[in-house]
Amino acid sequence: MTAFTLAAAETRLILRDRTVLVTAAALPLVFAILLSRSGMVDLAASTGALAALQLATLQMFGLFTTVTMTLTARRQQRYLQRLRTSPASTASIVAGLSGPLVLIVLAQTAIVFAYLAWESGAAPARVELLVLAFAIGAVASVALGFLTASFTRSPEAAQITVLPGLLVLILGATMAMLPEGGPMSLLRNAIPGAGAAALTRAGWDGVGADAFGALVAPLLGAIAVAAVSALVAAKRFRWQPR
């Protein structure tokens, strides 16, 4: 209940910032037009690989970076400290602050994926895997955002402190471009973003019945990244400025 109350307030705050609103609405459209003009659909190894990169990009900037900066700014404004003096639980505060951002990125992803399906002429084979990829990627991105915010002093510093996380997430998404299997398979699925990207690729391009076993590693990797990030963030996160 308190999560919904906070999410409603957060949504109101987002809607009141016209720059944020216009950027959030324009981003998927620009993304789609760039995709159309760049010829990437023809160049990509598969439509699924392209979808994986798109989802990773949207979650990287729309969730990971935004959550880091929003939390750091809210902490500096003492808004988080005020919420901590309310009966809201930690989970409610996290869900309330990040929920609207997740919904925005979900809407952006839906638009971008719809355009990709139309442009490539190939609809996703397993939508449920795409949903799973989005959910796991979103949890990991939000948790990594909280983790990064826990050692970020100010919104200005956040512009620098997000860079390692961005690099790791880009590396993880790039892993989806490599063929599955091989001795490095387990290791690469442990890279944040790699598991969600692999699931996205499989969800779009489809997998044979025997290949489903190969999805276990990305799935476990993605869950492990989300869980470890959330645990470390819960331990290290500071609710008030230093």
Partner: protein
């Protein structure tokens, strides 16, 4: 609310450190239900850190804190419904309106929405539709007070709640704080306004460099310091003053007597005036004010 027999706030020997710096050093105090306790001190004396620790936002390096008989750090959520906090920085979302901020707070506390009534109570009803970012500093302080009132708290921690308020709003805030204590709320207040502490506080602690330098009622604290008599004798002959226990100084036709024997010296002065046919215009006599105690401690270097 009725007195439960145990302190609403019980702080025992807390020490708080920021790295090697000790901000609060072995501080203890207790506040009973319906009591207003004021923490005074210069900037950096440790008042805010003490409040933040008592609220449960920080864990002390040593010592214990009990609010309503519970550890405020461990039982944060249990206490949140009955403990209100007015911080030095309000922590509002600047793009929400004043009314939306009150509604958010009452919803988080699952209290009936009384937005209009609460804003009315702090004289902000006309600013309900204004975004918090557009409110003045004083209006934000009053909005903060509205949030504190919304939860009808058993304990209120108020860190400089009247900073930046105009004199009328300050007096109005005092009235609201008095109403809270009359209903049984224990109030822990920090302030730089010594008249505020003298007006409101049942007990006062003066903090200095993280420690409590003086503690007691305002009268008890003042009792250890010289009282003061001032008057403008007419006609005035500075060489013809009576023998007094205290020290008399004269300037601009005014006599100031600092004394530890207020009643006796006042008698002597009045008898002397009656014998000489002298009028004591603008006669004031009273114990040391908190302002004077504070200034004296500062002069002695006890507040540096």
């Amino acid at each position: 609310m009725t007195s439960t027999g145990f302190p609403a706030v019980d702080v025992r020997g807390i020490t708080c450190r920021y790295g090697p710096f000790t901000a609060v050093d072995d501080v203890s105090f207790a506040v009973m239900p319906g009591e207003l306790f004021a923490l005074l001190g210069t900037n950096g004396a440790g008042k805010t850190t003490t409040i933040e620790t008592a609220v449960g936002l920080r864990r002390p390096a040593a010592g214990t804190v009990a609010v309503l008989d519970r550890d405020p750090h461990r039982h944060r959520r249990d206490l949140a419904g009955t403990v209100a906090v007015i911080g030095q920085e309000t922590g509002f979302a600047e793009d929400l309106t004043a009314a939306e901020t009150v509604r958010l707070w009452t919803d988080l506390h699952r209290r009936p929405s009384r937005t209009e009534a609460l804003l009315e109570r702090v004289e902000l009803a006309h600013r309900g539709a204004t975004r918090v970012g557009a409110l003045s500093g004083g209006e934000k302080r009053r909005l903060d007070l509205a949030l504190a009132l919304a939860t009808e708290p058993a304990v209120l921690f108020a860190d400089e709640p009247t900073a930046g308020l105009d004199p009328t709003s300050r007096r109005h805030t005092w009235t609201l704080l008095r109403e809270l204590t009359e209903r049984g709320t224990a109030v822990v207040l920090t302030t730089h306004y010594l008249d505020e502490a003298a007006e409101l506080a049942d007990h006062v602690a003066i903090m200095d460099r993280g420690r409590i330098a003086r503690f007691g009622t305002v009268a008890e604290i003042a009792a250890g310091h010289e009282a003061r008599i001032t008057a403008r004798p007419e006609p005035f002959d500075p060489l013809d003053l009576p023998a007094l226990t205290g020290t008399a100084t004269t300037a601009d036709g005014r006599v100031t007597v600092r004394t530890t024997e207020l009643q006796a010296d006042l008698h002597r002065l009045l008898d002397w005036a009656a014998e000489r046919g002298v009028t004591l215009a603008d006669l004031h006599a009273g114990p040391a004010t908190l302002d004077e105690v504070f200034a004296e401690l500062d002069r002695q270097g006890a507040l540096r």
